[in-house]
């Protein structure tokens, strides 16, 4: 496993060994239920409080504003559900065209149930059309939900600029920050964001744990109705080990952001991107380079198809992902790239590389070595490549 070149950190990340270590005692040794009256269970409750504080610190929240959930998707569903439930008269929901399926598909399902939905467009660089957004708002709007950073391109939306302008209209503002938390400094104490979703496994924590930040005073209705856990905001026995793991992961992420920042990661990403552009002709970067996550690049290799690239990279133990239709079983390439108007020639051949604090220069070198011949080989196979060459010459 050690020789895997892992550049797919927006899909999931390696659990930090310190996170695993923090979690392990809470399976077989301290397995008590935090709701129990005895101190064997109650002790675990104290540990969960500590984890809640660790996570709150990472995003500038108060501990009581954190609701632990099972994943980012549950957090998104909870937030949108809460806004709808607590504003029963309002039937209009706003989001963008490039959201993660956790929000996109939920909006589509709600639209079939009779809600009016607005999907705000983006430009060719993946930047949100703010005029369109604000013009779409009216007294009927229950919630605006916008991702903080895009999982495919890394493009960052101006959340801090949008949130207060939505809030002043009396509309709930939610952000899916699954890709942003741990990668960007976030301070919710000085923000107008009402609710924010995050996920453990995107920041070197375990899978199966997420959280929803709910600003104090925000109207809320639980999505999972059950016991009194999470102050009646999310029923169900706590996933104790994973919560403790998420707390540790948050602490590590904060320390990392404060000390080293993201310069190391972005330097590696920039080198990968620039060298690929230099070594492979007919290549472009998707998304606004000025407003991007430090760890993500989406590179389009024209006239070849993404799944073929990924499977050839796989032969070298290189892990990346693509917006190609063929990887998902759908027939249309990524809705994100389509919304940006990326032409088909480039959308089908777009590869996302996402780095982490574990990524090494050696891994970047491995990609730079393996990829140019792979693209050349697939272009040799492609009937469009020669035609493109002729056009370029003519």
């Amino acid at each position: 496993m050690t020789d895997v070149v892992y550049l797919d950190n927006n899909a999931t990340t390696r659990v930090d060994p310190a996170v695993l270590e923090a979690m392990l005692p809470y399976f077989s040794d301290y397995y008590g239920n935090p709701s129990s009256m005895h101190s064997f269970g109650g002790g675990v409750g104290a540990r969960i409080r500590a984890a809640r504080e660790q996570l709150a610190q990472l995003i500038g929240a108060s501990p009581e504003e954190i609701v632990f959930t099972s994943c980012g998707t549950e957090s998104d569903s909870t937030a949108i559900h809460a806004a709808i439930e607590s504003h029963p008269g309002k039937r209009h929901l706003v989001t963008s065209r490039v959201e993660h399926p956790a929000v996109k598909n939920l909006y589509e399902a709600l639209s079939k149930k009779g809600f009016r939905t607005t999907f705000v467009p983006v430009d060719g660089q993946g930047r949100l059309d703010l005029d369109y957004l604000f013009e779409s708002l009216d007294d009927d709007t229950a919630i605006v939900s916008l991702m903080w950073a895009n999982n495919e391109t890394g493009v960052i939306f101006p959340i801090e600029e949008v949130a207060p302008r939505v809030q002043e209209r009396g509309i709930v503002f939610h952000t899916d920050a699954v890709q942003a938390v741990g990668k960007l400094p976030i301070d919710l104490a000085r923000s107008a964001v009402d609710m924010l979703s995050l996920s453990g496994h995107k920041l070197h924590g375990p899978k199966g744990i997420g959280a929803l930040y709910v600003r104090k005073g925000t109207k809320f209705a639980p999505f999972m109705i059950g016991g009194h856990q999470e102050r009646n905001r999310r029923g169900g026995t706590e996933n104790t080990a994973a919560i403790i793991g998420l707390g540790k992961a948050a602490e590590l992420a904060r320390r990392h952001l404060e000390t080293e920042g993201t310069r190391g990661v972005s330097a590696l990403r920039d080198r990968l991107e620039q060298d690929l552009l230099a070594r492979v002709p007919h290549t472009r970067v998707n998304g606004d380079p000025a407003h991007r996550l430090p760890n993500t690049t989406s590179v389009a290799f024209e006239y070849v198809e993404g799944e073929a690239i990924l499977l050839m990279l796989n032969e070298y133990g290189i892990c990346a992902s693509s917006g190609s239709a063929c990887t998902s079983g759908s027939l249309e390439p990524s809705h994100v790239l389509r919304a940006m108007g990326v032409p088909f020639t480039a959308a089908h051949g777009s590869i996302r590389f996402s780095l982490s604090r574990y990524t090494t220069g050696k891994e970047v070198d491995a990609v730079l070595e393996a990829l140019p011949p792979i693209i050349a080989r697939l272009r040799e196979l492609s009937p469009f490549w020669k035609k493109a060459g002729v056009e370029a010459q003519g």
């Binding site: 073929a308 190609s324 063929c326 990887t327 759908s330 027939l331 390439p333 492609s382 009937p383």
Partner: protein, 275 residues
């Protein structure tokens, strides 16, 4: 991640017969860059009318490249009448099978082959047959009819997997369903109201039901049912094809054949298998 067979992986990583034949006897071009895959297939005949050389160029995923590569291997050495028999199932079978969602890659191979042969025979440039049903992927009613018939497709999703139709905006779903119904259902036997049948009528109706309803279904699994005798309400049948050696054949008989005959002929019928 897709579950590809070793054969698919081999043909993808080491594609055979890549390239262009400048003086080809036949060229077939299918797909487009917008659709996500495209194939250009070339062949050259020898003096006896057999394919001496076949090559391809493909833009697409691993299974599209593998299907194209397999196709070239399959046709070399064959004459044009022989290659006309090649179906998309044959191409998928040659590769040890394809994931269901990738079957359209094998259909693309078959289409390119047909176009190349048509090109050789001077039929190239012939207007696309039928009416466009799926505008997103430019698929006609004739193409859908054919793939439904040849591959015994049952749902819109199946059709999308095989020819992509319906995989875009979804506006054509009703039309695709109509085509599926008309291919599969025609002519459909209507369940009968209970009535008194003469022995001769009963036997005729059983025969007809086996021919028109039961065997077309069993054929999907390459099985076949033969009527041996009818004695009162006992219907004696023999299983052929792959059903004969199939351990599940008894279940097939009891559950499917009997219930179908009871529905279509008479509720008193009992099906028995004879050797």
């Amino acid at each position: 991640m897709w579950e590809y067979t070793d054969k698919v992986k081999d043909h993808f990583l080491n594609p055979r017969n890549v390239g262009v034949i400048e003086d080809a006897d036949g060229v077939g071009e299918v797909g487009s860059i917008a659709c996500g895959d495209a194939l250009t297939f070339y062949f050259k005949l020898d003096e006896n009318g057999r394919i001496k050389n076949a090559t391809f160029q493909t833009f697409g995923c691993a299974s599209a490249i593998a299907s194209s590569s397999a196709l070239t291997e399959m046709v070399i050495g064959k004459n044009l009448d022989e290659v006309a028999q090649i179906t998309n199932e044959d191409i998928a079978g040659y590769l040890g099978g394809l994931p269901k969602e990738k079957m359209h890659c094998s259909v693309m191979g078959r289409e390119a082959l047909e176009k190349a042969v048509a090109c050789y025979r001077g039929e190239a440039g012939k207007k696309i047959e039928g009416e466009i049903v799926c505008e997103c992927f430019g698929v006609t009613d004739r193409e859908i009819e054919r793939v439904v018939r040849e591959n015994h497709l049952k749902t819109i999703e199946d059709v999308t997997d095989y020819v992509k139709a319906g995989g875009g905006c979804g506006k054509c779903h009703d039309r695709i369903q109509e085509i599926i119904d008309s291919v599969r259902g025609a002519p459909r036997l209507v369940p009968l109201q209970p009535r008194v049948l003469t022995n001769l009528q009963k036997i005729k109706l059983i025969e007809e039901s086996i021919k028109r309803e039961i065997n077309p279904t069993l054929n999907m699994d390459a099985g076949r049912l033969e009527l041996v005798d009818v004695d009162g309400n006992r219907v004696m049948v023999r299983l052929g094809g792959s059903c004969a050696s199939c351990a599940k054949s008894h279940i097939t008989l009891k559950h499917y054949v009997e219930s179908k005959l009871r529905e279509l002929v008479s509720p008193e019928l009992v099906v028995e298998e004879v050797q």
